[in-house]
Amino acid sequence: MAEISRDDVANLARLARIDMAPAELDHLASELGVILNAVARVQEVAGQNVPPTSHPLPLQNVYRKDEVTPSLTPEAALSAAPASEEQRFKVPKILGEEA
């Protein structure tokens, strides 16, 4: 029985960058518990000897040649930007580490 607490959901929402209100967290915690119990069935048959499938078809070695193709114009690249300045995307201050 998967127990999902509001804190668990809050942590997931933080990882997923979604600012959920407490009521939404509570609601989702109960829904998620139900869904997880339903989907946890996969564990019943997922034995050690079963290889995982991540691609539906067994393709491999798909490459392109190292050739330059036209880029978008900067106008097109920036056309949907919520804000721009100096031909760059303008974004709010970043609270991360320095690159």
């Binding site: 668990d8 960058r17 829904e31 998620l32 869904i35 499938t53 539906p56 056309s79 201050k93 991360g96």
Partner: protein, 499 residues
């Protein structure tokens, strides 16, 4: 009324000079203007662009250019497919107003074939849903009964066909989003083999499951459209580099004599509406009457398919939808002095995504997180292997496999909105096909006696054997048509006198 014809007939009318593409396009635009307030199949109608494309097709025809079979025929495009300069929202508030700076490969191929794109159709937000109720722009209504859902996620595309707003449409199918809407609207929908149609420019929901395909009112029309959009695309690493099977020829052939048709034991019975099963069994009898051999096959791991799907699809979507962060495109919420990029991302994603999308993102985030990966995502991938093995074994016994497409006919709008698990059960018969990357078709099998609503018959074939779908589909369609005397859509009643 020309809009009631099939695409192949419209093409013949264009070829003979009976009508022009401009006139045909205008007739559909008029129909949209007349009925779409009630159906709400379209999120955006590009009248100007459509008429310009139609005029170009007419001009090429007048000049005697060699044209594709569908040149000048109108089409409705699911709003998950990008078209340069045309608003593409994926049914989400997140992308409100976004005009992509590029064309998807499917759109490029449609353009190259001079198909006329009427506009963009409604869908469950980011293709997550089975009813089109999850669109941020309101639900689409089923032309058979406007109080009912048209299926999902591609409900706009299927409804546009059933409402005669377009003779052809493009859908995408991650767990049944082409086939289930086709089933509940009495139309034809095909999920091609994974990799058969390029995903370049298809806004990803679940990359390893998504596949675009044709929606139409007949098997032949679907084949004609399938042929236009299929083929290898070097821009999609998962695109199959092999010739497209002869699907149009198969749709014109329709001969099941000596063919082995496998009925999947696990995809019937409990949970399936009686009328759905009755129509399914009648169709089997028709096929047997045409000389097919009906065999029963068992796919024991299919009962785990739904669970695996609701881990794999949310996991991939949690990553695919991370790019919607208010930095480069789409809406931006909460940008004010002193507010950080991180907070703006959080606020925008809270407001921009609907409930179902957030539910799946959170579920997928959980399934991929450290400590849970093996138990959830990893186990789901193993189930995927088992489902593939089930199919491999079944295809040793049969050339194609069949089942009802959806367990029920169209339900009422709002009926399952608060019960995600009940909603997910809609896709129980369609999901295994996506999990294995094989191809599947849904075509109308009649009306359920309980509610007089359409039921769907699903055909499944191995990867790159899409032609088998069309062969069997065409045979069944012809048998049903002669039984009914008129196409099923002649019974569409939701639009009253106008239909």
């Amino acid at each position: 009324m020309i809009i009631k014809r099939n695409a192949a007939d419209m093409a013949a009318a264009l070829a003979s000079g009976e009508t022009t593409s401009v006139a045909l396009t205008q007739a559909h635009l008029d129909r949209i203007a007349e009925v779409d307030k009630e159906v709400h199949a379209f999120l955006h109608v590009d009248s100007e662009g459509a008429l310009a494309q139609a005029a170009l097709a007419d001009k090429k025809r007048a000049a005697g250019e060699k044209l594709s079979p569908l040149a000048g025929i109108p089409l409705a495009l699911k709003d998950v497919m990008v078209q340069k300069g045309i608003p593409t929202t994926c049914g989400s508030k997140m992308l409100e107003g976004w005009r992509p700076p590029y064309d998807s490969t499917v759109v490029s191929k449609l353009r190259a074939a001079d198909v006329v794109i009427l506009g963009k159709t409604n869908m469950d937000e980011f293709a997550m849903g089975s009813s089109t109720e999850n669109s941020a722009y309101g639900p689409t209504h089923n032309p058979w009964d406007l109080s009912r859902i048209p299926g999902g996620s591609g409900g706009g595309s299927s409804a546009s066909l059933a409402a005669f707003e377009a003779p052809l449409a493009i859908g995408t199918d991650t767990g049944g989003s082409i086939r289930q809407p086709a089933a509940v609207t009495g139309t034809v929908g095909v999920k091609p083999t994974y990799g058969g149609v390029s995903r370049y420019g298809l806004v990803a929901f679940s990359s390893s499951l998504d596949q675009a395909g044709p929606c139409a009112r007949t098997v032949l029309d679907a084949a004609l459209l399938h042929e236009v959009i299929a083929g290898h695309d070097p821009k999609d690493s998962t695109s199959i580099n092999a010739p497209v099977p002869a699907i149009v020829a198969a749709a014109k052939n329709g001969n099941v004599k000596g063919l082995k048709i496998g009925v999947i034991k696990e995809l019937q019975g409990e949970g399936y509406q009686a009328g759905v099963l009755n129509r399914f069994n009648e169709s089997l009898e028709l096929l047997a009457g045409l000389g097919a051999e009906i065999v029963e096959v068992s796919c024991p791991y299919f009962e785990y398919a739904l669970a695996a799907y609701y881990l794999i699809a949310p996991s991939e979507c949690s990553s695919n939808l991370a790019r919607f962060d208010a930095m480069r495109y789409g809406i931006r919420v909460g940008d004010a002095s002193g507010v950080s990029a991180e907070e703006v991302m959080n606020l925008t994603r809270e407001v921009g995504f609907g409930r179902e999308v957030k539910r799946r993102i959170i579920l997928g985030t959980y399934a991929l997180s450290s400590g849970y990966y093996d138990a959830y995502y990893g186990s789901a991938q193993k189930v995927r292997t088992l489902i593939k093995q089930d199919f491999d074994n079944a295809f040793l016994k049969a050339d194609v496999l069949v089942s009802p497409t959806a367990p029920t006919t169209a339900f009422k709008i709002g009926e399952k909105a608060d019960d995600p698990i009940a909603m997910y059960l809609n896709d129980i018969a369609t999901i295994p096909v996506n999990m294995a990357g094989i191809c599947g078709m849904s075509l109308p099998s009649g009306l359920a006696e309980e509610d007089n609503l359409p039921t769907g018959f699903q055909i499944m074939a191995p990867a790159m054997k899409d032609d088998r779908l069309y062969n069997v589909g065409a045979a069944l369609e012809a048998a049903l048509l002669s039984k009914w005397g008129a196409p099923i859509l002649s019974h569409v009643s939701g639009l009253g006198a106008r239909a």
